[in-house]
């Protein structure tokens, strides 16, 4: 039997590739050195949490005495999430259509639609909340608008990708029939995208519920306002009660959307 020489273990890399790897490594190390907490400082901080007067110690047992007003605020949080998510998903559809290669009426329109979706997605929802507080004032309306814009960015991107990935055959067939652009989209594109649209919408709802709880921190309505007040007044036991109720809501919505996904898809 002829002895075969084993192939080399690693592929040869060029000098620019080695330099690129070195650059990435330098970036990671410098980032950790500059921003990561010192271990001794972290240890002292954690110890303070568990001290008799520390925050974690004071959180237990959680205080549910204000459960009724907190419950109403929780409902408002859910309503903000549902309303903002619904509006965002509806408005995401035209943005997604305009951002799609095959369905956009003109390349410049597609570029603008993609830029708007990217902008909506990139700016954090807390920043949108601050902007809408300036426009519509403090309260849940600003939260709904912030969630709506955030969801246009989130769902717009995924809707557009789903539409790009559909089989072009049925669309070509309807185009050959003489169908209008709208007819083609509604008849051929939407039915093909329905599973993907449903999954994205349910993820968007979960994301909205999680996000809406935080929007109250800047005054955009919902349970976040109560959480901020509890922390500001050092009512850590009530803060824990709010956190636990928020957790229950998020888990309930995630379980519910998971059940719907399994049933529909």
């Amino acid at each position: 039997m002829t002895a075969l020489s084993a192939p080399r273990r690693f592929a040869h890399r060029s000098l620019p590739e080695y330099l690129a790897m070195l650059l990435v490594l330098a970036l990671v190390i410098s980032s950790l050195a500059t921003t990561a907490p010192a271990l001794d400082k972290l240890g002292r901080g954690i110890a303070r949490l568990f001290a008799p007067s520390g925050m974690l110690t004071q959180m237990f047992p959680p205080d549910f005495t204000r459960i009724v007003p907190i419950g109403w605020k929780l409902l408002e949080t859910l309503q903000m999430a549902v309303a903002g998510c619904f509006l965002g998903l509806i408005l995401a559809i035209p943005f997604a259509i305009l951002a799609t290669d095959r369905l956009s009426p003109h390349p410049s329109v597609r570029t603008i639609a993609r830029a708007v979706i990217a902008l909506f997605r990139t700016v954090p929802d807390l920043v949108w909340a601050i902007i809408f507080i300036i426009i519509v004032g403090l309260g849940p309306a600003a939260g709904v608008m912030a969630i709506m814009v955030d969801k246009i960015g989130f769902a717009g991107r995924f809707f557009a990708e789903a539409m790009e990935e559909t089989d072009p055959g049925p669309q070509d067939a309807l185009r050959a029939i003489g169908a209008s652009r709208l007819g083609l989209i509604v008849s051929a594109v939407f039915p093909a995208c329905l599973p993907s649209f449903t999954a994205t919408s349910l993820f968007a709802l979960e994301k909205s519920v999680r996000g809406s709880a935080a929007l109250g921190l800047v005054g955009a309505g919902g349970i976040g306002v109560d959480l901020k007040v509890a922390f500001d007044l050092f009512n850590y036991d009530e803060a824990l009660a709010i956190i636990l109720l928020m957790l229950a809501l998020v888990i309930a919505v995630e379980q519910g959307s998971g059940w719907i996904r399994r049933k529909l898809l």
Binding site: D167, G169, P170, D172, A173, L174, R175, A176, I177, G178, A179, S180, L182, G183, V186, S187, A188, P191, A192, L194
Partner: protein, 267 residues
């Protein structure tokens, strides 16, 4: 081999008594590579014409150019009394509504029922939710769609999702959708390609029945010589971007067609 048919002129608004399709100097090139190099031919109405040629000879490109799903690079197409290359977008849609296109792959919307897919055919003449969803379609549209499904023998599968049907049944649903268009001319791009021999023959017989019984005109591509000989009245052969074979099927033979392919491959 016959000489290509001479181009002809149709007067605007005239009823079609001459050729239903006349092509003159039709050219198409992709990135400088010529696929169709000045085609000339004309088709009489109420006939079934087979278009044959080697893979990559431009047969599918020709069919798509005829309804401008691919824009021709040059030449003239007179079809159903219209100067196709000169049609404005709105007029082009109205023209396409009169031309049924049967695809190699059925191109149905997979998650929808057979009835919904057939109802989509009515988008050739109306729009709106009634043309998009069978559940919202007017009773007359639903009845016509059921009649089309019945014509292809699938009325009992109306509410079944098309992706649960066999390949042959899906192709028949696609033909029913095309019938819903009420076309005057049918273009068929290898409708038998992805089907087993028996189902392929049934589909071809169905298309020929539309020509014989409904008086429609058919231009079809088929790689199966036996189908070409059995289901066409005339055979056009495409090679080097031109029509190099044009003869009545009655005078054609399998040997002659094989010789055409041998000649094309040798070239």
């Amino acid at each position: 081999m016959n000489a290509p048919a001479a181009p002809f002129e149709l007067k605007a608004g005239s009823t079609i008594v001459g050729p239903v399709l006349a092509v003159s100097g039709l050219a198409k090139s992709f990135d400088g590579r010529s696929v169709l190099a000045g085609l000339d031919f004309a088709l009489a109405p109420g006939q079934s014409t087979a278009l044959i040629g080697a893979n990559g000879s431009g047969k599918s490109t020709l069919l798509k150019c005829l309804v401008r799903l691919i824009e021709p690079s040059g030449g003239r197409i007179q079809m159903l009394g219209r100067d196709v290359c000169a049609l404005a977008p709105r007029d082009l849609r109205a023209f396409r509504a009169e031309v049924g296109f049967v695809w190699q792959r059925h191109n149905l919307v997979p998650r929808l029922s057979a009835l919904s897919n057939v109802v989509h055919g009515v988008q050739s003449r109306r729009s709106g939710p009634g043309a998009w969803f069978q559940a919202l379609a007017p009773a007359a549209v639903r009845a016509e769609a059921m009649a089309c499904l019945d014509r292809v023998g699938l009325a009992d599968r109306a509410l079944m999702r098309v992706d649960s049907l066999s390949g042959g049944q899906q192709q028949r649903v696609a033909i029913a959708r095309m019938l819903m268009q009420r076309p005057a001319f049918i273009l068929a791009d290898e409708p038998d390609a992805s089907l087993d021999p028996q189902t392929g023959e049934e589909v071809m017989a169905l298309l020929q029945g539309l020509v014989r019984e409904n008086g429609l005109s058919l231009l079809m591509i088929s790689h199966r010589l036996e189908h070409t000989l059995q289901f066409s009245d005339r055979i056009l052969g495409l090679a080097d971007g031109r029509i190099t074979l044009d003869q009545p099927t009655a005078r054609a033979s399998a040997t002659g067609l094989r010789r055409f392919f041998d000649h094309v491959e040798a070239a």
